[in-house]
Amino acid sequence: MKTTYREAMRAALRDAMTRDERVFLMGEDVGRYGGSFAVSLGLLEEFGPDRIRDTPLSESGFVGAGIGAALGGMRPVVEIMTVNFSLLALDQIINNAATLLHMSGGQFNVPIVIRMTTGAGRQLGAQHSHSLEGWYAHIPGLRILAPATLADARGMLWTALQDPDPVLIFEHGSLYNVAGELDDDADAVGIDKAAVLREGDAITLITYGGTLPLVLEAAEQLDGEGIDADVIDLRTLRPLDAHTIMDSVARTHRAVVVDEGWRSGSISAEIAARICEQAFFDLDAPVERVCSLEVPVPYAKHLEQAALPSVERVMAAARRAVGAGG
C-alpha cells in the first residue's frame, strides 16, 4: 500500500481509538482544524469531539490534564503542536509524569503518550526549529521514541499505548510528506530495539528521526567510494539499545553519530560516551559526531542548511573515521 508518514500516523491513531475506548486525542487544533500538520484530519468526524478534543493554548494545563486522565484510567494521546511549545509543559512532563511512579513508591503509574513535532529545516526560525528529544532522553521515568520510517509511524503508537509509563513520541516535521510502500497488514512494532537498516562492515552510522533519510543517502554515496556502512536507526532514545550499537561497532570498529540536536550535552554525546565505555578496545578511530552547529536555528535557507547535519558532513565524517588509524 502506498502511503505517507502522515497517513501512517493517522492510521495508527484511528486504529488505537477503535481498539481501545479509553484512548483519546487531545491538543491544540487536533479537531476542527484537523491537526496543525493534518495528522488528525478527519478523525473528529469519525470519533466526535469528546475523543478528538480541541484544547485552548494551555500546554501545561492540557498535558497535566492528560497525566491526570491517565492516572484516572484513561489512555490519553496528547498532541503538543511542536517540541518548542512543550517547554511550556515541562513542569508537568518532568515533575509529574516522570516522577509519580517513583515518588509514590510504585502506586501510581502514568500511561500517557505525548506526541509532538520536532526539528528544523523548514525555515521557521529559532522558536519553531528546536530538536530537544535528546534533552528529554535525559529524564529517568520517560520513554522517548523517534519514529523515522513508515512502519514505525504506523506501528509505534499502539505499542506506546500499551506501555504503563509515559512515552514521548517525536515526529520530525520533515518526515510527514515522506511517501513509500507499507504492508497492508502493517501493525504494532516493538519499541525496545534499534534497527539496522543497512548492513556494511566499514563503519557504523548511528542516527534517528529526521536525519535518517540523509544518513541513508550518505551511506549510498559512501558505498560508491568503497565505504560500506552499517546504518542504525535508534528508534528509541530512552532507554537506548546499546547492544545493537556495540554489536555493530565490534564489527566495523568505527562510528559516526548523526543528531540534529546540538553537540554539547546531547544524545550524541551520550552515545559516544557509551561507545567509549563499552567498546573502547573495538575502536580503530575516534567516534565522530555530526550535529547541528551551536547557534539558534536561523531563518535564511542558506544559513539554516549550513547549521544542520547534511549528507556532505556525514560523508566527510565517515571518510575521516575510515582514514584514521588502522
Binding site: 491526570g68 486522565a69 492516572l71 509529574n96 511512579l101 515518588m103 510504585g106 520513554r143 546499546a242
Partner: protein
C-alpha cells in the same frame, strides 16, 4: 465572624468527630516538629497547624471513590483521607513501611487505596492533574468528585489559570479548595496579586466560588457539602476560598521575618480547635471527661504511629531503582545499556480506575 452555626451546634456527636479529626492533625504535626528537631526526620517539613479546619471540613464532604490532590503541606489531608499516621511518619523516616516506601517524604505522600494523589510540591502543579482526573471520570461516566487543595500562592501561577479555564470550559467535576493563609512562603497576598479577592478570579472563569471562614470547621463542612453536591450532580467545577492562617513558620527553615508576632497572636485567638472546643463546652456539649478521653485517644494514636515508624526498616538501597518504570515481563529486550542502565524493570504499577 462568630458563627460556628452562631454557637448552636446541632449535632454534638458529629462535632466531636470533627474536633477529633482536627486534633489528630494537630498532634501529628506537633510530633513531626519534635521528630524533626530530634533529626529523626529530614528534608523540608511544612506543618498545617492552624489550618486543620479546612481539611477536616472538606474531607467530610467526600466519598471514598472521590479523589484528592493536595500540596506539600499535606500530612493532615493524607491523615484525614485515611492514610494511617504510622504510614505517614514511616514515610518521613524513609522506611519501607512508609506510604511511598521512603521515596516521597513529607512533601510527597501518595496512597492509591484512598485515591490520594499527593503530595505535590510544585505550587499549582497539582491543579492540572485534578482537572485530568475529573476528565477521566467525566469520560467514563462516573459520578466522582476530585477535590484539589492549593494555597493562595498558586493563583499567581499560569497553571492555576489554565486549570480554571479547562475545568470550566469542559464542566469537569472538580472542587477547587484554595487554602488562603495569606502568605506564599513569605510573600503576603497583597504584595503579589493585583486582585486579592481570590473567589473573584474563579468567578472570572464562570466557576461558582465563595469565600468561607476557614477557622470554622462547621462552616467549612457546610460549604464543602454544598459545593460537592453541586459538583457531583453535574454542576461543573466549584471553588472555595478557605480563609485560614498558618500558625507556624512556612517550613523549619523560616525565621518569619515577614509578619508581626501580634498578627499571629490575633489569628491564634481563632484557633479552629479551641474555637469548636470552647463553643461546645460553653453549650455543655463536651464534658471534661470526654474531652480528656478524646485527647488521650489521639495521643495514643500518634504515639503508636511513632512506634510503628521507629520500628520500621529502611527501604533497601537494592530497591533504589524500582519504580522508575513499571514492572514488565523481563524479555531481555528493554534497556541493555550496560552497567549504568538501571531501572528499566521495576515493581508493580497500576493506575487507578
Amino acid at each position: 465572624m462568630t458563627t460556628l452555626r452562631s454557637q448552636g451546634i446541632p449535632d454534638a456527636d458529629h462535632a466531636v468527630h470533627l474536633l477529633r479529626q482536627m486534633l489528630r492533625v494537630r498532634r501529628l504535626e506537633e510530633k513531626c516538629i519534635e521528630l524533626y528537631s530530634a533529626a529523626r526526620i529530614r528534608g523540608f517539613l511544612h506543618v498545617y497547624i492552624g489550618e486543620e479546619a479546612v481539611a477536616a471540613g472538606v474531607m467530610e464532604a467526600l466519598e471514598p471513590e472521590d479523589a484528592v490532590v493536595a500540596t506539600y503541606r499535606e500530612h493532615g489531608h493524607a491523615l484525614l483521607r485515611g492514610v494511617s499516621a504510622g504510614a505517614i511518619l514511616a514515610e518521613m523516616y524513609g522506611h519501607a513501611e512508609g506510604c511511598c516506601r521512603g521515596r516521597g517524604g513529607s512533601m510527597h505522600l501518595f496512597d492509591a487505596a484512598t485515591r490520594f494523589y499527593g503530595g505535590n510540591a510544585i505550587v499549582a502543579g497539582g491543579l492540572p492533574l485534578a482537572v485530568g482526573l475529573a476528565l477521566a471520570d467525566r469520560m467514563a461516566g462516573r459520578q466522582r468528585v476530585t477535590a484539589c487543595f492549593f494555597g493562595e500562592g498558586a493563583v499567581a501561577e499560569g497553571e492555576f489559570h489554565e486549570s480554571m479555564n479547562l475545568a470550566a470550559l469542559w464542566q469537569l467535576p472538580v472542587l477547587f479548595c484554595c487554602e488562603n493563609n495569606l502568605y506564599a512562603m513569605g510573600t503576603a497576598l497583597g504584595r503579589s496579586e493585583s486582585q486579592t479577592d481570590i473567589a473573584l478570579k474563579a468567578a472570572g472563569y464562570e466557576i461558582p466560588a465563595w469565600a468561607v471562614d476557614g477557622m470554622d470547621v462547621l462552616a467549612v463542612e457546610e460549604a464543602a457539602r454544598r459545593a460537592v453536591d453541586a459538583v457531583r450532580s453535574g454542576g461543573g467545577p466549584h471553588f472555595l476560598e478557605l480563609r485560614t492562617y498558618r500558625f507556624r513558620a512556612h517550613s523549619m527553615f523560616d525565621p518569619e521575618l515577614y509578619r508581626e508576632k501580634s498578627e499571629v497572636a490575633r489569628w491564634m485567638e481563632r484557633d479552629p480547635i479551641s474555637l469548636l472546643q470552647s463553643a461546645m463546652q460553653a453549650a455543655a456539649q463536651l464534658p471534661d471527661k470526654d474531652w480528656a478521653a478524646l485527647q488521650a485517644d489521639v495521643d495514643a494514636e500518634i504515639s503508636t504511629a511513632v512506634g510503628f515508624a521507629e520500628n520500621g526498616t529502611p527501604e533497601p538501597v537494592s530497591e533504589l531503582s524500582r519504580f522508575v518504570y513499571s514492572d514488565r515481563p523481563d524479555d531481555g529486550s528493554a534497556g541493555g545499556g550496560g552497567p549504568e542502565e538501571q531501572g528499566t524493570t521495576a515493581g508493580k504499577g497500576g493506575a487507578a480506575g
